[in-house]
């Protein structure tokens, strides 16, 4: 495959050009963490291409926190304003894996989610390699690397003078073709520079997580230790805030509710979808009062079993990306790596 090279100045020129027809979001530093921020033409130098993933996942761009999914009895006239085309710059390998999980849920099967699909089609993804390892990162334990192998339109790997650029889709290819003048072919020298950095960062992630690797797959651990006491002792620390669900890039459970639709003259209603969370006590309760996951331990176990066993069974992919956001967000300091290694030992 042909690797391209683009220098910083040219990449900025390209972003400026793209900003004319797209809304662009990129990671920017606020205090010690990275957050998705909307890019302005005079803020290009604020983009952080390397480091690690942002605090927030990518999912709200595609699977909105709250969205009206149906209007009835008569469908509302569609607003003429089509949403602006969106480009995400600086998504990480773990972010891309999460999109593969969400794609399985919302794009595949008998019932397709038109809202997610529209957002997905409207969004171009320019990912980038991690240049370091966060304290809670553990992608290597779920068979990922801190640099993307797939799932991007274009991927950027930073080297001394610019970026080595890999094309991952026909849309990415198209973008290169339209802007041929700013790209050159990457030399083997440049690709080697990239590969050296990659190996170094992967090594960091592996080293940091050595102690958690018990030599068994997470699916095995969850499946074979359903009755483990560790679920109970760990769940003691859970305050039922569901922060783990909210920041998880792959958690996709939601709640549908109905309401009157705004200030319209004619009586109309809408069905609204909001993110929901399996760690809330009544998530699975039925109107009659029965609740199959009454206890915190059952809910914690369900979350892990869903990610590492059920999702794998249903879709042939693990629904955890090792991004470590749930560890970072948990007020009770529940550390997924620790829980699984304790159970698996």
């Amino acid at each position: 495959m042909v690797m391209h090279f683009i220098n910083f100045r040219n990449f900025n020129t390209l972003l400026k050009k793209l900003l004319k027809e797209n809304v662009i979001y990129a990671p920017m530093q606020i205090e010690e963490n990275l957050y998705w921020q909307r890019l302005s033409p005079d803020g290009l130098e604020n983009i952080v291409y390397g480091q690690i993933r942002t605090v927030e996942p990518l999912k709200p761009f595609l699977f909105h926190l709250k969205e009206t999914v149906a209007s009835y009895p008569t469908a509302k006239a569609k607003s003429k304003k089509t949403p602006p085309k969106t480009i995400i710059v600086g998504a990480k390998a773990c972010d891309l894996r999460a999109l593969a999980v969400l794609d399985d849920v919302f794009k595949e099967g008998d019932f397709k989610d038109l809202f997610y699909i529209a957002n997905r089609e409207n969004t171009l993804i320019i990912s980038s390699d991690c240049s370091s390892c966060g304290e809670t990162c553990f992608c290597c334990l779920v068979d990922l690397t801190p640099y993307p192998a797939t799932g991007f339109d274009l991927n950027l790997s930073r080297i001394a003078d610019g970026f080595v650029l890999e094309v991952g889709s026909s849309r990415g290819e198209q973008l290169i073709k339209e802007n041929e003048f700013v790209f050159q072919e990457a030399s083997s020298h440049m690709v080697k520079e990239r590969d050296d950095v990659r190996a170094e960062v992967l090594n960091q992630v592996k080293k940091q997580n050595e102690e958690y690797d018990v030599g068994k797959s997470y699916q095995e651990i969850v499946k074979n230790n359903f009755q483990s006491e560790v679920w109970k002792t760990e769940a003691e620390k859970c305050v039922e805030c569901a922060a783990c669900n909210q920041v998880c890039p792959t958690c996709y459970c939601f709640l549908l509710y109905d309401q009157a639709s705004g200030a319209e003259q004619t009586a109309g209603y809408e069905k609204v979808r909001v993110w929901d969370a399996c760690q809330y006590p009544k998530f699975s309760q039925v109107a009659g009062g029965a609740n199959p996951r009454k206890r915190r331990a059952e809910r914690l176990r369900h979350r892990y079993a869903h990610k590492f066993d059920y999702f794998l069974e249903n879709f042939d992919i693990v629904a955890c990306t090792g991004c470590g956001r749930c560890i970072q967000a948990c007020p009770g300091k529940i550390d997924m790596r620790e829980v699984l290694s304790k159970i698996g030992k």
């Binding site: 019932f111 038109l114 109905d258």
Partner: protein
């Protein structure tokens, strides 16, 4: 592409009071909604919310849908206030339904409890429309008291008139009253002295979780294999399309993979009766 969250508007043609807290709503949807018996739909009470119900009418009847609903929560209590000509929304059908092809040539034992008779009515009506396809049907039903029996006219007057060689009915109540001359006892007692070829039959069970639990155990005692027992699982089916996560039971989405499961598929999962 079709928006799976959009309900079809339906007019309430008739409201039938079955018991003090159970009503049947006869709906005429704006467009036909074909379904296989055992599949369920989401009923929307406009502006209030939606809840899952299995139609209780035969899947052969196209122009109307019956839903029998117990007043239990927010949506069902709003529904119980509805009157003829009111509008509701219907989404579906969802789930797999009963595998009728697998039942052909066999005996069918049906065990229902309380409002669990609703989906079983649809199932039974569908079976008797083509009764020659099945060896025999034994239909056991239990309600708490005589006044809790749903579809009283069918259960007490119409169905007993069916060909006794093909359809055996067994009715019981947990507690009788002055007028009750029939059997008194839990629905599991109707399974005593069954005249059924157990090896050549399937058992189809629907009712409250506790009733399904003890019925299943009894059926196992009687010699049924877990894969012969078809259970309707009651979980919090919300989206109906295998996404929202509320109804998950192990790796299954009850809405998509069920709601009817054979017992062998679920017996080792946690808290199936809760």
């Amino acid at each position: 592409m079709k928006n799976p969250y959009l309900p079809v508007s339906a007019e309430i043609l008739e409201v039938i009071e079955e018991t003090p807290n159970i009503k049947t709503f006869v709906l005429k949807p704006k467009e036909e909604i074909p379904f296989r018996t055992g599949q369920f739909m989401e009923l929307t009470v406009p502006g209030i919310g939606e809840a899952p119900f299995t139609p209780s009418s035969s899947s052969q009847v196209k122009e109307k849908l019956d839903f029998t609903v117990m007043n239990a929560g927010k949506v069902t209590s709003a529904l119980h206030k509805a009157k003829p000509s009111d509008k509701v929304g219907v989404r579906g059908p969802y789930g797999a339904g009963y595998p009728l092809d697998e039942f052909k040539g066999r005996e069918v034992l049906i065990v229902g409890g309380g409002v669990g008779l609703a989906p079983l009515r649809s199932f039974f009506l569908t079976l008797i429309e083509d009764i020659k396809l099945y060896q025999k049907i034994t239909f056991c039903y239990g309600a708490r008291t005589p006044s809790d029996i749903v579809y009283k006219n069918l259960v007490m007057n119409e169905w007993p008139k069916l060909d006794k060689k093909k359809v055996a009915l067994r009715l019981t109540v947990d507690a009788g009253d002055k007028t009750w001359k029939g059997k008194v006892g839990l629905v599991t007692t109707t399974l005593d002295n069954l005249n059924v070829d157990i090896g050549g039959s399937v058992a189809v069970v629907c009712g409250p979780p506790i009733m399904m639990k003890f019925t299943t155990f009894k059926l196992i005692d009687l010699g049924y294999k877990p894969e012969q027992i078809y259970l309707s699982m009651e979980k919090n089916m919300s989206c109906g399309i295998g996404k929202c996560g509320h109804c998950m039971m192990g790796k299954y989405y009850v809405c998509k993979d069920g709601p009817v499961f054979t017992y062998d598929k679920i017996k080792d999962l946690p808290a199936i009766w809760d």
